[in-house]
């Protein structure tokens, strides 16, 4: 994903051998320790999220395993079933460390799914608009205008207020928030791509629209989307947290990071800082890592800056 993002210039230079993906990848991050830290951070978070069911001390979603008598224990306590709670527990006896691991899972799952599906839809519609033109383009681009003229968080809030809460509903709401900007971006790139001669050549050679789209337009138009993708993901993580905080997000029995923070908010003033501080730190750290990497990718993709690299 990251590598592909750098394919700004796909026409190989004849005078030097094409760098391998790994080489190009390294070039982006070389000399940028912050970005490297961010990259490592992201990998760690993703790994923890994937492995959560195996490495978490407790299954925070199994109600029978939680006991309110274990509630609000400070970091370093032992629970009734002998589990050691490094980061303490929340009001319901949920181990914070386990909660954070599972919460990370939900937050990442929601954000990744929503952004990937949303972007895929956006890319497809953008290409379609560029390729077909005419009324197809008009309809798609008007829809994009409509969507973009309205703040995403408000739209999501409305949709969730109407359709109810739940992980699936949050994902739908975020998908609806994610597609439009990608469609606009891809259409712009694809249009400029279509002015190039090789597309004419392909058309003359009798290639179908579908072939042109998948073989030429898609690979060449997708790079800018990939560059903004991390930003979209961190945005989606934040949006999900905000929705959960406002009480229209994920269900309370399966808290995401945002909901864990919201739960702990009530306790922040009473000195039980661990409940919302740890999930909050993890959320901020994860978003930060993604944004640092995203910045790097964008700077790299920006030709003005690359000239000086």
């Amino acid at each position: 994903m990251m590598e592909a993002a750098l394919d700004q210039d796909l026409t190989p230079k004849a005078d030097k051998p094409e760098p391998t993906r790994w080489e190009r990848f390294r070039k982006v991050f070389k000399g940028h320790p912050m970005a490297v830290v961010g990259l490592i951070g992201i990998s760690m978070f993703v790994l923890v999220a994937i492995l959560a069911p195996w490495i978490a001390p407790q299954d925070p979603y199994d109600l029978a395993k939680l006991d309110i008598l274990d509630g609000l224990l400070p970091p370093g306590s032992t629970l009734f079933d002998g589990t050691y709670s490094v980061l303490g527990t929340d009001a319901l006896g949920r181990d914070i460390l386990s909660g954070v691991m599972y919460g990370l899972r939900i937050s990442l799952f929601v954000a990744f799914t929503a952004v990937l599906v949303g972007s895929a839809i956006g890319v497809l519609l953008g290409l379609l608009a560029a390729l077909r033109g005419g009324w197809v383009e008009t309809i798609i681009m008007r829809a994009v205008d409509l969507k973009i003229s309205f703040p995403g968080i408000l739209l999501a809030l409305m949709l969730l207020a109407i359709f109810g809460t739940g992980v699936d509903k949050v994902i739908y709401a975020l998908i609806i928030g994610a597609w439009a900007s990608k469609a606009r971006l891809v259409r712009a790139v694809a249009l400029s791509e279509m002015k190039k001669e090789y597309i004419d050549a392909a058309r003359l050679a009798g290639l179908s629209d579908f072939r042109i789209m998948t073989r030429f337009l898609l690979p060449n138009s997708i790079s800018p989307v990939l560059v903004v993708l991390p930003m979209s993901i961190s945005g989606a993580i934040g949006a999900e947290a905000t929705l959960s905080f406002l009480g229209v997000g994920v269900p309370i029995t399966e808290p995401s990071l945002g909901l864990l923070i919201a739960n702990g908010n009530d306790y922040l003033l009473s000195g039980k800082w661990w409940i919302s501080i740890f999930p909050g730190l993890v959320l901020v750290a994860m978003v930060l890592c993604i944004n640092v990497v995203s910045d790097r990718l964008r700077d790299h993709a920006n030709p003005y800056l690359r000239a000086k690299d």
Binding site: I68, G71, A91, G247, I252, S270
Partner: protein, 529 residues
């Protein structure tokens, strides 16, 4: 203005304390009073606000207020004797005519909209001024609850409207021959906001209201020169405002806020057991209940052993001590045990082993599936309690799925009967029988029974007791009927009582708060140490 000065000092980082003038009480409510007009709206904050300005015939604790007493002429007719020497804020003396006028105003549809308190009037047919200080209320059928209903009748001066001279003829439309009532705007700009209460209206701007002492008050003089009520719905913001010195007292701090005060010498809190029972409603319909299913297709909640098991599984003590820090009372019946008229009942047992046995006896040893519904934004700590209940039931082998929804969604689903098991709270402003008479009685329109029987509970013994209670004007006998009904309901458990809420106030340490059961916050309960 003092508040501005305070800010000046604060901005200059001088630690000038937030204390306002020595004798203005600044309170923060949890939601904004809806109007100064005493009639269109109910709700604890609106009621709490307006009782500073207006008074009713009967006080919140059932004692006479603007009345000095009453006499039942017959089971359908009651004469109320008015207090003499009471003056409205505009100087008018209170007479029976004002009470009739107020009853008319209460029934009147403002902008064609009936006000939400009108249903409180029950089978009232006539209000008559017998003489200056006696008012007779006539009812269509025996209605002992009328004593309670008189709490809603805030008394306004008849001079506030265009009333023809002579006696006012009451009618249920509130027409009463009155050509023009004061409008809502008249109330909100203060022109019509005239009562007999210890405080006079100064300003009302929804989230902020101000009142000043009524120096001509008929009773004990008000303790504060002025009262300011701000409304801050976010509990974190409300508590932070208290700690930041914006308010002297806030209502409904959370259990967490309270524990934050442990180490704080400047602030403390006061709790008072309130009249609300928090309980679980179970649909006992033998045809089955929504969201409840067993492998064999039977209806688990229809079996009383299952309901008993669900009650035995709950550690109520842990809920009140852990989730509320002791600021809730373990329930042993459907009305708060300390509410006047509530019967003596034994404590409810916590015994998960016995619960499992009962489940096995009932044929659900391998459990069953239960969707448990709870509103997400209605009750303080409510979602946590709902999760704790789900934990307890999960531990005796029931496969519980917890479903929390915003109140607006939850209320509709409850109304539609879509929920087989849900968490609910019911206040008892009208006495110990209030909840069970609505929630567990078979539907009886004439007596006003059973309109919220979502348990689909039907018991001959219970219904007989409730029907006898509904028409009994003798208090002692009425209480016996309540006790009979309560015993029947606790044996059958069409619902499971969990705890009684406490009203809480966090405030400056130099204040004393004498809280009330009715969940309202008023300046009357607050005094300086």
């Amino acid at each position: 203005m003092k508040r501005t000065l305070t800010t000046l000092a604060a901005v200059a980082t001088v630690a000038l304390s937030g204390a306002a003038q020595a004798d203005v009480l600044r309170m923060a409510y949890s939601s904004a009073p809806r109007s100064v007009d005493p009639y269109p709206f109910g709700g604890a904050t609106t009621a709490g606000y307006k009782e500073h300005i207006y008074e009713a015939l009967v006080a919140h604790d059932d004692s006479p207020l603007l009345a000095t007493g009453w006499t039942w002429n017959s089971p359908t007719s009651l004469t109320v004797h008015l207090r003499e020497g009471v003056k409205f804020h505009n100087g008018d003396a209170l007479t029976a005519r004002d009470v009739v006028y107020s009853a008319c105003r209460m029934m009147f549809k403002i902008d064609g909209k009936r006000n939400l308190l009108t249903s409180s009037m029950g089978p009232l047919t006539d209000v008559v001024a017998v003489d200056d200080y006696n008012v007779r209320f006539d009812m269509a059928n025996p209605y002992p609850l009328w004593i309670q209903k008189m709490k809603f009748l805030s008394v306004l001066p008849a001079s506030g409207a265009d009333v023809p001279d002579g006696p006012i003829q009451y009618d249920a439309e509130g027409d009463c021959g009155i050509t023009a009532y004061p409008t809502r705007d008249d109330f909100e700009n203060g022109d019509a906001a005239i009562g007999t209460g210890p405080y006079k209206h100064v300003v009302y701007e929804k989230e902020f209201a101000k009142m000043t002492r009524n120096d001509d008050y008929w009773g004990a003089p008000a303790k504060w020169d002025g009262v300011e009520i701000s409304s801050v719905s976010n509990s974190g913001a409300r508590f932070a405002g208290l700690l930041a010195g914006d308010y002297d007292l806030i209502e409904n701090p959370t259990a967490e806020d309270i524990s934050a005060l442990d180490r704080n010498d400047d602030y403390t809190f006061t709790g008072k057991p309130a009249w609300r029972t928090m309980f679980v409603v179970l649909d006992v319909n033998p045809e089955g209940a929504n969201g409840v299913s067993a492998p064999d297709g039977s209806a688990p909640l229809a079996d009383v052993r299952v309901r008993q098991a669900m009650s035995l599984a709950i550690n109520r003590e842990a809920i009140t001590s852990r989730l509320f820090g002791g600021n809730a009372t373990v329930a042993n019946q459907f009305a708060p045990a300390y509410r006047a008229g509530a019967p003596e009942m034994p404590a409810l047992e916590y015994n998960p082993e016995k619960a499992k046995e009962l489940l096995a006896d009932a044929g659900y040893g391998d459990g069953f599936t239960l969707t448990f519904n709870a509103p997400s934004d209605r009750y303080p700590g409510g979602t946590r309690v709902a999760q704790a209940l789900a934990q307890y039931w999960a531990r005796i082998g029931i496969n519980v799925e917890l479903n929390t929804q915003p109140w607006s969604v939850f209320a509709k689903a409850r109304r539609a009967g879509d929920m087989g098991a849900f968490f609910y709270g019911w206040g008892h402003p009208q006495g110990a029988a209030q909840m069970i008479s609505f929630a567990f009685a078979s539907r009886n329109k004439d007596l006003g029974l059973g309109s919220s029987n979502y348990s689909n509970y039907s018991s001959a013994a219970f219904d007989a007791a409730m029907e006898a209670w509904a028409v009994e004007t003798d208090e002692a006998k009425a209480n016996e009927f309540v006790a009979d009904a309560m015993v029947a309901a606790m044996a059958d458990l069409p619902g499971i009582p969990v705890y009684y809420t406490h009203s809480l106030w966090a405030h400056k340490a130099d204040l004393t708060v004498d809280g009330r059961q009715d969940e309202r916050t008023s300046a009357f309960m607050v005094s300086k140490k």
